[in-house]
């Protein structure tokens, strides 16, 4: 990129230069470039939510969901369970990617199915967790920490749902014409997106299950202390 920007196009140039994207050593597909930008956008969205969370956490009415034994996320076994679910979904999809690379259609299909199954299971489990918290009296609007919990998990689930739909489209194409090499790239794009969402989930999990002291430290690092 930098070398491109240092070019001097106004000087006489040898006519055999064909330039264009020929300078790029490793060809990257347009889809992958677009996906990278999309991941950047999703990253910015969660980053901004997190920043507002840290700022909001320093207001006196904020009661964190973890830190004291009686708070629901102090012993987040259910969140760990969900995390394992999502991990299995990502692992299955990765399996499908490597199977599609070796031209094994059956394994690919199975990998995709398991990935969808575990991802849907994850969303259902998140929903059950919502219901449990709601049952315990942690309503959406009763405390900003609760609001953020529902907001973070909800937005994350929506993104995962988008990923499931994209994967469903790929597997539909797979059923229709079944040509693996063409679809391998698409499956691999889906896998990248899912892994990214898994990493985001880990960060959200860590954030949501932290104690008020951690928030305070992080907020101090951002200059949010009041």
């Amino acid at each position: 990129m930098l070398r491109n920007l240092l070019e001097k196009p106004w000087l006489p140039q040898p006519d055999n230069v064909v330039g264009g994207n020929a300078a790029v050593a490793v060809p990257t597909s347009a889809e992958r470039i677009a996906l990278r930008f999309f991941l950047a956008i999703v990253g910015v969205i969660f980053f901004l939510f997190t920043i507002t969370f840290l700022s909001r956490s320093q207001y006196p009415d904020f009661q964190a969901l973890a830190g004291q034994p009686w708070q629901p996320l102090s012993n987040p076994w259910q969140l760990w369970l969900n995390t394992v679910c999502l991990l299995l979904a990502c692992a299955s999809l990765q399996w499908a990617v490597s199977a599609s690379g070796k031209d094994k259609a059956d394994f690919t299909r199975m990998g995709i199915r398991f990935a969808q199954l575990f991802a849907i299971l994850f969303i259902v489990a998140q929903y059950l967790l919502w219901q449990k918290l709601h049952g315990l009296g942690f309503f959406v609007a009763s405390n900003p920490a609760n609001s953020y919990f529902y907001l973070f998990t909800g937005i994350h689930a929506l993104h995962l749902l988008g990923g499931i739909i994209a994967l469903a489209r790929v597997s539909l194409k797979f059923r229709q014409n079944g040509s693996l090499p063409k679809l391998a790239a698409n499956i691999s794009l889906c896998a990248t997106y899912w892994h990214f969402l898994f990493v985001i989930w880990l960060l959200l999990f860590a954030l949501l299950a932290s104690s008020p002291e951690t928030y305070r430290t992080l907020a101090a690092m951002c200059g949010f202390l009041r």
């Binding site: 491109n4 196009p9 597909s29 677009a34 999309f38 901004l48 700022s55 009415d61 907001l151």
Partner: protein, 580 residues
């Protein structure tokens, strides 16, 4: 070689056969560009009418019964939001971005044509949602275009019910539409350039649109995040932004949220938004000036670097919109410094435009008139920006008409000037006909001088301390009586300038069928969009073979060559033959 994979791939391209696939559900970037442009210009006209009604109230208070205080605030809000987002962003990126990117880099279409089509229809949905708010109970929101909480969603603000909900939904839908479009523009520039089109051979229009798209992709999420959280505050009763407060004498259920948090998020989007609008305009005006001055753009590489640096800096200046919100003085110092630093690359660009004109062979055609007009309005708007960037100067001037004058000059009038230049410049390419020159010149002079008649006095009103957004001044001690006729004169000028745009619309419609037919490359331009086999370009743009690029886009008046421009796709051998 990645570009071949997309540009020359062996897939079959079917020309759409039916009217519906050709003009309605079209995936052709040129048709989508025109759809975007027509929609954007239509909502822009709505916003223009709204501004006229605001001015009627301000110039002749209490003369018009249908403008009550609520209606006035609603006009202000909708005018601002429509102009900034639904007109300027959509027209510059959705309209010109779509039309120019593939043609200028020598591609057959956008990389993802289907996504491109979806982008337009999603944009149309957001426009419909926005305009629908005029017809709901309570009318559109009157919260001001910045939508600051807590007042934006409290009863007492006009449109606090359905109006603000529709506004937030519409913004969300717009952001989805923009993201689909933006991903397309960025990927197309990176991946679909033709043979020989290196990044540093791209016309500056493409550079501007490309950088602005990246800015948009990274900045719009901030607006999305704040819209989502505000919608939750309003619908579900969360307290992200809403502090504990009394509303109409009653304690609300909100606890201690932070309105300032919203302001930070909003301006983290809002300031890059200025450059999302400005950078494509910078790029386009550079190309128009170089073409009509028959001279290469002065300091091409500096121009590219300036675009990139402005884009980067635009993310760290947002809090200069919030000096009066209260902040740590060191933050104020930081943001004042970055704000003033951004003036450096911007000034480089202005100098380079002037130096391009210097000793050029200037043809004062209508696009050139608008471009030179832009240099004036942008310089004036930019200089007042230096005033407002300083904390101590901003504090007394904040929320006065000085600010209104400043931002209308710098990001209202200036991009509009460039848009007009661009429309007059590329109309022959899009339609094969010229716009009428006489009407165009009349349109230019009345618009150019008229905007000065509107906005220069506003700076003076601002110094007097006349606050913005007020429905009526009443009798206020510190404002002299002379402010009243001044306000009336501004209104008269505004009504005239508004009416003059009818000349433009008439010209547009008349020239479409009756305009003088243009030759293939009427301005003698070098960039690729004028080198297509047919003008206007047909589906897939390039006929059998893609063009091959041999040079940058600014080989005008090269010494020793008989023709005063060398198109980008002309090889050295062909140039040799032109040498005298």
């Amino acid at each position: 070689m990645a570009h071949v994979a997309i540009a020359d791939q062996e897939q079959e391209f079917h020309e759409p056969a039916t009217f519906i696939t050709k003009y309605i559900w079209s995936q052709d970037h040129k048709v989508i560009a025109i759809q975007y442009s027509i929609t954007a210009i239509f909502v822009g006209l709505v916003a223009l009418v709204l501004s006229g009604m605001m001015r009627l109230q301000l110039g002749f208070p209490d003369s018009f019964n249908f403008i009550d205080p609520s209606a006035y605030l609603q006009f202000v809000t909708m005018h601002g939001m429509i102009m900034v987002i639904y007109l300027l962003t959509a027209l510059l990126l959705g309209g010109f971005g779509n039309y120019l990117i593939p043609l200028m880099i020598g591609a057959r279409d956008m990389v993802f044509p289907y996504l491109n089509m979806l982008s337009y229809w999603t944009y149309l949905l957001s426009v419909i949602l926005l305009l629908a708010s005029f017809f709901v109970v309570g009318g559109p929101t009157g919260a001001g275009w910045t939508l600051y909480p807590p007042q934006a969603i409290l009863s007492g603000t006009p449109g606090a019910g359905a109006g603000i909900t529709l506004m937030l939904l519409s913004l969300g839908v717009f952001i989805v539409a923009f993201t689909m479009g933006g991903l397309n523009y960025v990927t197309t520039v990176l991946q679909a350039r033709t043979k020989g089109m290196t990044l540093m051979r791209m016309p500056l229009s493409v550079w501007g649109i490309f950088t602005a798209s990246i800015l948009g992709l990274l900045a719009f999420p901030a607006l999305l995040v704040s819209a989502i959280m505000m919608l939750l505050d309003q619908q579900v009763g969360t307290s992200f932004f809403m502090p504990a407060l009394l509303s109409l004498g009653e304690q609300t259920d909100y606890t201690g949220g932070s309105p300032i948090l919203f302001q930070h998020l909003f301006w983290f989007f809002g300031h890059p938004e200025v450059y999302i609008v400005a950078l494509p305009a910078f790029g386009i005006v550079s190309d128009v000036i170089a073409t009509h001055a028959r001279k290469n753009i002065f300091g091409y590489r500096m121009m590219v670097w300036a675009i990139v640096i402005i884009g980067g800096l635009s993310f760290i200046v947002w809090a200069h919109h919030m000096y009066v919100s209260g902040m740590n003085p060191y933050f104020g110092f930081f943001f004042a410094t970055t704000t003033l630093i951004i003036a450096v690359p911007t000034a480089i660009k202005v100098y380079n435009w002037v130096l391009t004109l210097w000793q050029g062979n200037i043809h004062l055609r209508v696009p050139m008139l608008f471009s030179i007009g832009f240099i004036f309005t942008f310089t004036h708007g930019g200089l007042t920006g230096l005033f407002l960037g300083n904390v101590v100067v901003d504090l007394p001037l904040s929320d006065t008409y000085f600010v209104v004058g400043h931002f209308h000059m710098v990001m209202g009038v200036s991009p509009i000037m460039v848009l007009y230049a661009a429309i007059y410049h590329w109309f022959p390419l899009v339609t094969g006909r010229y716009l009428h020159t006489g009407l165009g010149k009349l349109h230019f002079w009345l618009t150019f001088l008229g905007t000065y008649a509107i906005y220069l006095p506003m700076h003076y009103l601002g110094f007097l301390g006349v606050p913005r957004r007020y429905y009526a001044m009443g009798s206020t001690d510190f404002i002299p009586d002379s402010a009243e006729p001044l306000n009336a004169s501004i209104t008269v000028a505004a009504i005239i300038v508004g009416a003059v745009q009818i000349i433009f619309i008439v010209n547009l419609i008349w020239s479409l069928s009756k305009g003088r037919k243009s030759e293939p490359n009427p301005w003698g331009a070098t960039s690729l969009e004028w080198q297509t086999p047919e003008i206007p370009p047909k589906h897939l743009n390039w006929g059998e073979k893609l063009p091959v690029v041999h040079r940058w886009a600014y080989d005008y008046s090269v010494p020793g060559v008989s023709q005063d421009f060398i198109p980008q796709n002309m090889s050295e051998a062909e140039v040799e033959r032109l040498k005298t």
